[in-house]
Amino acid sequence: MAFPGFGAEGEDLGEISYEAGIGQRLPLMLCLDTSGSMKGAPIAALNEALAGWSAELRYDVQLKTTVQVAMVTFGHGGVQVWQGREPWSSASGAAPFVPASEFYPPQLAAGGVTLLTEALELALRHVYAYKGWLKGHGYTYYRPLVFLLTDGIPTDANGRESASWQRLVPDLAAGRRDNGFEFYAIGVGNLTPQGEQVLSTLVPGGFRILGGFPFRSLLRLLSATIEKVVEGSGEAPLLTQPVADPFEDFFRQRPAGE
């Protein structure tokens, strides 16, 4: 990197010892739909985009240590938590979040039903547990980002349309209101009006419907959102105005149907 004005080359103050692990962390939970409707080109596009996006994160000198990634998929194999490319097991005793520098995504397959409710509940439990762990160990962190991507309507285990998702509404509202996490939902593919209704109820003002499966640009914009969070700062209230929505640009750049 060139540093304008003082040159890229030259002496610095030498090798300085810094305490390990004290950098601020940004937990990022990806909750991804891998149900049967994602078979074929959509799941291939998602896999390709995830691989490219994670590689970009690994090369970012700051984000690779700041961003901590975990994934929950729902569809093929039921509801599955991932720790990097491996299925996560509670027996490991560790949280499924891994530094972006070590995040290599799994090769996802599509199939099965859309257990969105169960997946999101599990994702939020992991987010809260990880926050508790960070707090307990004295690590500082940004408000976690939870990112839901779906192309269908929530179902039960038999594939029947289910209203169970409605039980998520109060938890999501409370989590966002109390700064527990920031939550965004993106509908892709041929999401029906009912599917859109689900997202708009889950996260009023924080969802978007995109035509097709533009995963690559979606994940690139997710990186932009992460950078916005990392460069921003919260503050004590009063004499203030609302903090800008870090996803503002995302929604401006990718309007519905684009």
């Binding site: 610095d12 601020q24 950078e227 460069e231 700062s233 503050e235 004590a236 203030t240």
Partner: protein, 255 residues
């Protein structure tokens, strides 16, 4: 006499996004005394960079005026009281000018934290609002020792929440005075350098990362030293991996 040097660079996250640095610093050397101020503009506020610049300008003017005022040199308690009064003037002027520039009820657009110091007659006085910090180097029987004087208070659930001079809860600032003629170096910083310059216990900054502070102040001890090694260190991988925040410090060493 004090030799004072300021360093301010965009944080890595700002560099990659092309966002200007929202920190500011300003200093004044008045005879054998010095006034130092650093401010960190709130990332979420539209005019916080202007706010930080305005705040350090007003602060150095008010504190220089305080040092130049006639009267007996203060002891520690009196200095703290004067700093408290000075802060009220600083905040009053700042809110007034910010309101003039931004409009009625919009002073919050200029939100910024503040750490300021005066060093005079063997006394060091500090004003603090928000999460900046002050480290000193003191010469003693056991050589140089390093002390964290103002421990940054981080409020709220997440680590990027703090208090600004524009906040309603910032009517009064924390003031500290230290009587130590052995102080040979002072480093004021915004919170960006906290993970590099401080040492942590249970996730909280409790003491000084002497390796970092020693090298910075030691470099400035050399008369006519090239400032670029300090800037390169501020943007080194080691620091960038700790923080993407804007990085600003004002360092003073006895010349």
């Amino acid at each position: 006499m004090w030799r004072v040097r300021g360093f301010s660079v965009q944080g890595y996250a700002h560099l990659t996004e092309g966002i200007p640095c929202q920190d500011a610093y300003r200093q004044a050397v008045v005879g054998s005394s010095a006034v130092l101020a650093v401010a960190d503009g709130a990332g979420s506020r539209s005019r916080s960079a202007e706010g930080a610049a305005l705040l350090v300008t007003i602060t150095t003017e008010v504190l220089t005026g305080m040092l130049n005022a006639p009267g007996e040199p203060p002891d520690g308690r009196l200095l703290e009281r004067r700093l408290g009064q000075a802060y009220e003037r600083i905040r009053g002027q700042f809110l007034k000018q910010a309101t003039l520039l931004a409009g009625e009820g919009r002073a919050g657009d200029f939100a910024a934290t503040l750490v300021a110091a005066v060093v005079t007659n063997g006394l060091l006085g500090i004003i603090q609002v928000g999460d900046g910090f002050v480290v000193v180097r003191a010469a003693g029987r056991q050589g140089m020792t390093y002390h964290l004087l103002s421990r940054p208070e981080v409020s709220g659930q997440h680590s990027n929440e703090t208090l600004f001079v524009t906040s309603a809860a910032a009517e009064k600032a924390e003031t500290i005075s230290v009587a130590d003629p052995g102080i040979t170096g002072i480093l004021l910083s915004t919170d960006g350098l906290m993970p590099a310059a401080l040492a942590y216990e249970q996730g909280r900054p409790e003491t000084v990362n002497e390796d970092f502070v020693q090298r910075v102040l030691g470099h400035l001890d050399k008369d006519g030293s090239d400032p670029r090694p300090i800037l390169r260190t501020m943007l080194s991988d080691g620091v960038v991996q700790l923080t993407g925040d804007d990085l600003t410090m004002l360092a003073a060493v006895r010349a």
